[in-house]
Subunit: 316 residues, 4 copies
């Protein structure tokens, strides 16, 4: 219904024509591969040339910079570490906007400040193209298996076109509202996740000190009102569950440093909107203290270890 | 196997003989009624004589004090507001221990400091009787409909006997371990519940300020890692769910003051065991601030309102 | 020594030539008046024309926009509410940079993110001019009486020139280091101030509840290690000291909303530099909650009232 | 005026008669020595016999238990680690109350819960004797040099008699009010001290990250509203001040574990009196986390190091 009236119908019909991909890091690399697997010709770039090799061998065309990607593809996905990278890739000297075509669809899957997403959307709109923010939940594993969840913000009429691409890389593609709401949903979820994880860790630790068996305590919480994702799906206490980072010395999973970054974004948006987030704010500080004390590279459920009594003397 | 050797077998076989009940408040009253409904003769007392009237009309025998209850019943349930009341009912001048019979089973369903439960257990044991702590989760509604959850701490051999009585008043009776672990499980659950509720409230408030529809945000959280009981079963935002206090001006439910009390217990046990509980501690402070600002009688999910911007000027 | 080699010597010698002033709000207005009193011809502008009337009557020349100020004065002071205003006044369509002269000295006394100060400094430097950040401590009273403290960041060689102007408006002019360190010093001081004020309020409230006389408690703290500016100079408890907002229903002084803004800046700089500031962060949240509960316009020492038990029921 | 009517005048006149001292730990030992120096015959005991040797060599009489002390002295000072020790020393099987004489003056200098002080006072009063709480501020150094500050709670008529003894061991003896207010004052001071110390550490760390010189920042804070004892007298940043633990790898001073204990008492009294103490509560948690991470034995100003970025990877 929407589509027939769309000024962009040529592009949205043009399935299996080239898709641009910018940012081939731990997440971007498997995502771009999934586009290739689904039969899309991919034209890609990254600031680190070596990041491009694997994709090139798989048949992707590698170009020098974002502007060249925009010159050759009218659908582009970006997956970058932080706001300044996004700003640079879009508006920099060799940025997308230097050569973007009218009617292009630009999807940013980076996790950044929603205010920056809105800024980018405005700049993109001025060039006659469309911008959507589509941050993901799920880590490298989900990116590899094509099971990511995308939270998408932007003009509703364009959602179907975005969904066509994103569903090659994810199991869920959720429309959240206007530009920036994809980021908002991601940030909100991760803030509550961090609160639940620290809360679960404190609670399990306290229960153990009070003489409860950790498996039994997890079972009781999970049948009661204390239940949360961190208690029933990703329990931070070694031995309570299998197949989670707590069972593997907190290797893999979602790094403490990345959680600290997302909580910093949550804090920034809360400050800008004058919203009180006392627990979210303390969660941010705790993950920040963990980074300062050597936990940056461990899974974020290692907060259980951070809070637990440690026998050895530190910092002597 | 355990039972056959038990010195208490006469009592545990003696179903449908008198059961004592001490503390006929909002919770104790419907609990005692459920014992009556299940055919147990009840012998009861309360410091407020008027609290006993209804039960008396239903056939319970009312006596003057805990000692008299202990004189006539060898199974007693206590349901009292706080630690000092429990200490008084057990060890006071007219306390249970003045007349407790050897082999009696004393079950305390109050929510109190597990250290006090352990003290009571020692004093009871010296008299040749058995003490179990069995605090409940679920409010007045669950007490009335016999759907409480009991978390039970004490000697495992006695659990079957306790279960026989408690299952008349609750849908779940969970054995947690040694004396005090029932309290520990209750306190741990409620601490994580409070953290989850405040976290959900902050998150929903932030998402709304960032332009997300609250129902959509709840849906996204509930399919993601932010999911928790407060987001999917008891959402604090008016209009997101039906049949919860947020839909009824935060009337009914679990009062902020009661949550503050339970968090105070959690804090005390954490302090005594030198366990860091940063979010639990801040949750305690937030519920304490809410009590100071007039929210004491509202459901604990009203923290959403406490954090939300209020238009009117206060305290002029 | 420095001065003789300076390319800007013509300007720095040119005392009593025109000084520009942009931003005539509660603070800027008395500051500009003090420049007039010291004999400087002032050329001023503000987005609200009515703000300019009083200064015009006192002899200042009023122009339409910052560019015109820059056209006529080679020393300019800006005093604006927040970062976006500063960005606009410097780099906007009618901003200072449109007409700034080489060698001009631009002093920004707004309290903003030090990162924005650095951005402005770079932009100003490209035009061949000099930028210094010089936020103030002290309120409207100190601005009126010329007793402000200026914390100055920028090239050390230019400090003397800045000091000449700033000492007309303040009693202390402190050189802090490179551009942005003036803001850093201001933000750091106010963060510690907020922590001390909330801490003093909690402590006084707790002591009173424990039976201590508030004046006696203040005296004990002030002779002990609990001593701080909020306990000995600006005590938040009514009746303990005279001449402070707590003695006047928390009227006047430094508004809760302004403190919340400064704490937001502290939080942003801490997030950006990955510095853990757990108490600063919680202080921010408490002042933010106070704004949400109607304390925005009261002096920031009213946190004592916010934490104190309130008899009346709220939000029914 | 008071004195002439006192039923205890015989004792209070009886200067230089025997003084009992119970608890010869790090603090009690130098305190008792100062009584000897001032010419008081001391009769002492401790649960660890070896703690008594030094004092015995200096002329003190050592007895087996508190009851024997009470049998021989009608003025007794107790200096014990925590509430349970105090309860035992007063009310235990060989406790003071077994042999206390009517009219005796019992001064407890331990830092404990004021509620326990009140309990002890009631028990002592029943025996016709007088109890005062008189906790100290100042560490081992001040105890040795007789420069402690005593905060005294109890009947005002007895203050002069207490002061006579306490002034041999301290430079300041402050009357605080009814029994328990000495503890209250101590606890309040130390809570505000902890808040100020953590706040100063966060602030200094943030300022340094923002490019400020630490000595300069301390100077600016100390001339501004951020000033507090921790910034101007006991600065936690190495190199800013001399003669403080931060200059000596945080050796000596006031241990993190002891601060955590005092904050636990503050938390307990706040919980019991339903007083919100958000920053005090978070300060408690931070010192508790520090104990869990190996800082227990370092001076409490080492929170600066705890918050600072650490290069090495921990807990691998």
């Amino acid at each position: 219904m929407y589509g027939s009236m769309s000024p962009f119908s040529s592009r949205s019909m043009a399935s299996k024509t080239q898709v641009g991909f910018i940012g081939l890091g731990n997440m971007g690399n498997p995502m771009a591969k999934n586009l290739l697997k689904h039969g899309y010709p991919v034209i890609a770039t990254d600031v680190f040339p070596e990041s491009c090799k694997e994709l090139q061998e798989l048949g992707a065309q590698i170009v020098d910079n974002p502007a060249e990607v925009a010159d050759k593809a009218d659908r582009i996905v970006t997956m970058l570490p932080s706001s300044p990278n996004v700003i640079d890739v879009y508006t920099g000297a060799n940025g997308i906007l230097k050569k973007v075509k009218k009617g292009s669809l630009l999807i940013d899957s980076s996790t950044i400040d929603p205010a920056v997403s809105k800024e980018m959307a405005l700049a993109v709109e001025k060039m006659g193209a469309v911008f959507m923010d589509a941050p993901v939940s799920g880590g490298v594993g989900a990116a590899t298996s094509g099971k990511l969840t995308f939270m998408v913000g932007g003009v509703e009429e364009e959602f179907t076109a975005a969904q066509e691409l994103l569903s090659c890389m994810g199991a869920n593609v959720v429309y959240c509202g206007a530009v920036g709401t994809g980021q908002a949903a991601k940030i909100c979820n991760n803030m509550l996740l961090a609160i639940g994880m620290i809360g679960t860790s404190e609670t399990m630790n306290l229960g153990i000190r009070l003489g409860l068996d950790p498996k039994l305590l997890a079972k009781i919480l999970n049948m009661s009102s204390g239940r949360c994702w961190s208690s029933d799906t990703y329990n931070p206490v070694p031995g309570v569950m299998e197949g989670v980072p707590s069972g593997n010395n907190y290797q893999g999973g979602f790094g403490t440093q990345l959680m600290a970054k997302d909580l910093g974004l949550a804090q920034a948006t809360a400050t800008n909107t004058k919203t009180p987030v006392p627990l979210g704010s303390l969660a941010h500080q705790i993950y920040r203290m963990m980074c300062a004390r050597g936990y940056a590279g461990k899974d974020f459920s290692s907060v259980f270890m951070f809070l637990r009594e440690d026998e050895k003397e530190e910092g002597q």
